[in-house]
């Protein structure tokens, strides 16, 4: 008897879920699109910066300097100006990202005194890319200086650069930013989808006024709870699999670790999200309220969980807060399995934390949800 009732509930929930076109699209197609978009956009390599040039010197060496700037695609020459005022204006209006000013005395000073000056104006609005641009410029100038010295000094002086570092990037040899970001995006998508979709699905009964009718039937509240968790978790697992396919197919993530563990902990994380969603729905009166509360809760989870920025570079307080953020633990595990191929022996503490979170959130939200039912 109980099983037939549960079966009827599961059928009903699944049918309703699948008939909700928007939600199904939200959970299957839009994650793929956002994966691709965010995977590419959240790319912190700086290249193709637009460079404005004011070359008042116009000699061979000044042209060589300009070539040095554009040689490795970091800067692209956007145009030449003939007045400093114009160049400053272009930077101001954002027409160029940086302006290079070579004064008319550039080659003359270099010849006569052995030193000279150039000026570079950088649009500092985007602190991140402007910082990188500054680094590139310093590097380019250093290299140019070295080349000048080598050309002009006799070889016998034996000028050598004293320390040369050999840096090896482990696990991400190409230092592809996408390798860091794609697992973050997966975590973001799962968090967002699980919390919001579960909350919206669970509140619908209240929203459309069918809850009372359902409560008047002889079904147990446990059965209702199960019927609210199982179908949505199934669909979210599909979301996860699609994200992984994109990670593998589009971004060529290495998938170095145990896939079974990956699946187990991802489903565990989905459960945490669904449980949070259920809890939100139990506190809200209607769909709109649910969505707003859901977004309000989801954003800090994502921002403080290390999906877009590394937790280790956060202030100490936030590093502590991250410890109670399930996404943080999930991302450590996800990046570990995908990129490093590590297993339980390395991140067992995070695994225990996740199991703890899953148990706690499920218990609390089941309690809340049942309380609202009775």
């Amino acid at each position: 008897m109980l099983n037939r009732r549960l079966f009827a509930l599961l059928i009903k929930e699944t049918t309703e879920l699948l008939r909700n076109r928007q939600l199904v699209i939200f959970l299957t197609i839009s994650p793929v699109i956002s994966m691709v978009i965010f995977g590419y956009v959240l790319n912190s390599n700086v290249s193709h910066l637009r460079l404005g040039i004011l070359d008042q010197n116009q000699v061979a060496i000044s042209r060589e300097l300009i070539d040095a700037f554009t040689a490795n695609q970091v800067f692209l020459v956007d145009g030449y100006t003939y007045k400093q005022q114009d160049l400053t204006n272009q930077v101001k209006r954002g027409k160029v990202d940086a302006g290079l000013i070579i004064p008319s005395t550039f080659s003359q000073d270099l010849m006569q005194t052995g030193t000279s000056e150039i000026a570079v104006e950088i649009d500092g609005i985007n602190a991140y890319s402007s910082g990188l641009a500054k680094g590139y410029i310093a590097q380019i100038i250093t290299q140019f200086n070295l080349d000048l010295l080598l050309q002009n000094q006799p070889i016998s002086t034996g000028l050598e650069i004293p320390i040369q570092s050999q840096i090896t990037f482990r696990y991400n040899p190409g230092t592809l930013d996408s390798w860091f970001f794609v697992p973050g995006v997966i975590g973001t998508i799962i968090t967002l989808s699980a919390i919001l979709a579960a909350a919206v699905e669970a509140v619908r009964e209240k929203d459309q006024g069918t809850l009372e009718q359902l409560l008047m039937t002889p079904v147990a509240s446990t059965a209702i709870l199960i019927s609210k968790i199982v179908p949505i978790s199934g669909l979210l697992t599909v979301t996860l699999l699609m994200c992984l396919v994109v990670a593998y197919g589009v971004f060529q993530l290495p998938f170095r670790g145990n896939l079974l563990l990956l699946l187990i902990f991802s489903i565990l994380y989905i459960q945490i999200g669904v449980a949070l969603g259920l809890a939100i729905s139990a506190f809200s009166k209607n769909k709109l309220q649910t969505i707003l509360v859901g977004i309000f809760i989801t954003i800090p989870i994502i921002l403080l969980g290390g999906a877009v920025t590394s937790v280790s570079s956060m202030p100490l307080l936030f590093r502590w807060i991250a410890q109670i953020n399930p996404l943080y633990h999930y991302l450590v595990i996800l990046r570990g399995i995908l990129l490093k191929g590590t297993g339980l022996e390395v991140w067992w503490l995070h695994a225990i934390a996740m199991i703890g979170f899953a148990t706690l959130t499920l218990l609390v939200s089941a309690h809340r949800y049942r309380k609202q039912l009775s």
Binding site: M1, R4, R5, F7, A8, L9, I11, K12, T15, E16, R19, N20, Q208, G209, T210, E212, Q213, L214, L215, M216, T217, P218, V219, A220, S374
Partner: protein
């Protein structure tokens, strides 16, 4: 209120400056109006004229084309063919002279009463210097002036509709189109609403109103019966009833079911036009009262049945309407419910299904239900009647175990302990006010779901689902998404879904709101069928003609039970008498009488006045002298029996009135 109206500055006939000679044409003139949606035709050639100052009623079942007609008249929709002229202008160009109240709420729940009106006034370009005066005038007329700052979302249904009417009136339109304005509004607020409409027509505003409630339609000057996109009949309520050519006989008997069965044979032979059970009595339609009475007596004697009394009464508009539709052959099927095992009646240990003692419920400081006692027997249809906020829904929810009680005791189906146990729920059925089906599921999926959670065995499940589809006339359409069904049909499917498991106790919370007359009759046949099989049924409603169908009922006012008994008992227990007055100047006489008696005692019914007098011997001459002194001729006075609605309003007012 009357004073305000007397000073109202509506444009007089002579002031009206339209290029066409307005006086010679009807305010609303519709000729050969057609409207098609794809292959379905909603209107199939309508001709209609409404005169200035008329209160015109449009009645018909769901899907008759009423709303389409309103949309065309309101200038919101183009007709496929034909034309609709308002004040001589095409409807679309006449929009500035029209106030249109659609079925959906047109108010902003997060704006206050005053802000809603200001918004409408702004949209309608009401001159700034006139807004305040008009707003005060209409808010006073609607008795809403005390609530200027209240949010529209926190008003009761009746107040919301009055506010919507205010918003429509702020631009002082000359034509008001009201599409089922009183749906969801309780009896008392409804009567008040109609009194307001009557006073507006006295100011030469022309009103067209659709209503599913035929008691309300009696209050119109003229009504049109619409069916299947056409106007079938048109005329004053009195004309229509006279044209029906049938008399109504009310038969009182204790053996309702057997009597109905016996008399049905007379319907088959054509001697009687119709037989139906109405709560505690049977009503028969016959072409001739005397002959009919004899036929009924003979037939009952033949069947060895006796009856207490046969009383001839005039036919109602509902009789007119159902007779018309029956001739059209559009009466919903009624099939016997497939019981398992067949025809097993419920045989409970006790005869009392629902017992409540001193039931109380508080919400904070608000005492929603006060010391309520109820005894409802198996096989009984019991009505819980009251205005909005009287505590009906709170009571039904407490009895269902959906809401904890503050104090008191309850026994449901003999169970006093855990009223939420699955075992007890299995024996109960519940249909809530609205939305009991899942919109995203098909009709079939909904029925499968409910039969699944009630654990009905698969074979019976198929049979029962077939039955629900058959009574709803939805065979072959079971794969339709539920959201696509019109409200009335949804209610029927919901009813089917809540009785498939053959409950011993059935709770119906306003099951027929938004359901048309025919479907409502079928609903009651089904309800009566379940009651005959022993189910105890508790119904809440605020339709009084529907309440007549209950075997017993009680009136609730502010959480208290103020009257209980059968419809006849309650009506008989009313103090005083009801009189119908025919007067020459309706509105003036109405205003005059209302100054002297409590406002609820006087109301306008079509071209007559109704007045309730407690001591008619002294008061009736008083009425005459009062009208005479104001030079208002009184043409005729007639005593009428109380309707249930009169009884209800009387009881509520004597108990201190409805909550605001």
């Amino acid at each position: 209120m009357p004073q305000i109206l007397a000073h109202a500055s509506f444009p007089e006939k002579a002031d009206r400056t339209l290029s066409t000679p307005v006086q010679e044409i009807a305010t609303i003139a519709i000729r050969k109006l057609y409207k098609h949606y794809g292959t379905t035709s909603a209107l199939r050639g309508i001709d209609l004229e409404v005169q200035q100052g008329e209160l015109f009623g449009l009645i018909g079942p769901d899907g008759a084309g009423k709303t389409t007609a309103f949309n065309i008249l309101g200038g919101v929709m183009e007709a496929t063919a034909g034309n609709a002229l308002i004040l001589g202008l095409p409807a679309r160009d006449a929009r500035n002279y029209i106030g249109y109240l659609t079925q959906q709420f047109s108010l902003y729940p997060d704006l206050s009463v005053e802000e809603n009106i200001n918004y409408s006034a702004g949209l309608r370009l009401v001159p700034e210097d006139q807004i305040e005066a008009r707003r005060t005038k209409y808010l006073t007329l609607m008795q809403l002036d005390r609530f200027r700052d209240r949010l529209a979302g926190r008003l009761s249904g009746g107040m919301r509709q009055k506010l919507a009417l205010c918003c429509a009136l702020i631009s002082e339109p000359r034509v008001l189109l009201l599409d089922e304005p009183t749906t969801g509004v309780d009896t008392i607020a409804r009567r008040e609403f109609w009194d307001i409409l009557a006073s507006l027509t006295a100011q030469d505003i022309t009103i067209v109103v659709a209503t599913p409630d035929l008691d309300e339609a009696e209050r119109c000057d003229r009504v049109a019966l619409m069916y299947d996109g056409q106007i079938q009949q048109i005329g004053t309520p009195a004309q229509l009833k006279a044209d029906l050519g049938l008399q109504r006989l009310v038969i009182r008997t204790s053996a309702l079911f057997k009597t109905e069965q016996a008399l049905l044979t007379l319907v088959q032979t054509g001697e009687l036009a119709d037989v139906s059970t109405l709560g505690d009595r049977i009503e028969v339609l016959t072409p001739d009262a005397q002959l009919g009475k004899k036929q009924v007596r003979d037939r009952l004697a033949q069947a060895d049945l006796d009856c207490d009394r046969i009383q001839p009464e005039v036919a109602t508009l509902e009789n007119v309407f159902t007779t018309l539709l029956r001739r059209q052959g559009s009466v919903p099927q009624s099939l016997p419910f497939p019981r398992s095992p067949p025809e097993s009646a419920i045989t409970p240990a006790s005869t009392i299904a629902i017992a409540a003692r001193d039931l109380n419920r508080h919400f904070g400081n608000f005492h929603a239900v006060v010391d309520l006692n109820l005894d409802i027997h198996y096989g009984e249809v019991y009505g819980l009647l009251g205005a909005n906020g009287a505590g009906k829904t709170t009571t039904i929810k407490m009895l269902c175990g959906l809401l904890p009680i503050s104090s008191g005791t309850m026994a449901i189906a003999g169970e006093t302990g855990d009223l939420r146990s699955p075992a007890l729920r299995q024996r109960m059925g519940y249909m809530s006010q609205k939305f009991t089906l899942y919109d995203d599921l098909t009709i079939l999926e909904n029925l499968q779901f409910y039969s699944g959670v009630y654990g009905i065995p698969p074979r019976q499940q198929r049979e029962k689902i077939r039955w629900v589809l058959a009574i709803c006339g939805l065979e072959g359409q079971e794969h339709l998404l539920t959201r696509q069904l019109p409200g009335g049909w949804k209610q029927r499917v919901a009813f089917g879904a809540s009785v498939m498991h053959e409950p011993e106790i059935l709770f119906l919370d306003e099951p027929t709101s938004g359901v048309d007359v025919l479907a409502r009759q079928q609903f009651w046949q089904l309800i009566n069928d379940f009651a005959r099989n022993g189910t105890a049924i508790l119904v809440t409603t605020h339709y009084m003609n529907e309440a007549e169908q209950c075997n017993r009922m009680c009136f609730m006012v502010a959480g208290r039970k103020v009257a209980e008994g059968s419809a006849s008992e309650i009506k008989a227990a009313q103090p005083g008498q009801l009189f119908e007055l025919r007067v020459a100047q309706l509105q003036a006489s109405y205003d005059r009488l209302r100054q002297h008696w409590e406002p609820w005692r006087v109301s306008i019914f079509g071209d007559r006045l109704h007045i309730v007098l407690d001591h008619s011997n002294q008061e009736l001459p008083q009425v005459e002298s009062l009208l005479q002194s104001a030079n208002l001729p009184l043409l005729d006075t007639q005593s009428l029996p109380f309707s249930l609605e009169d009884a209800f309003i009387g009881e509520v007012q004597r108990a201190g009135g409805a909550p605001p």
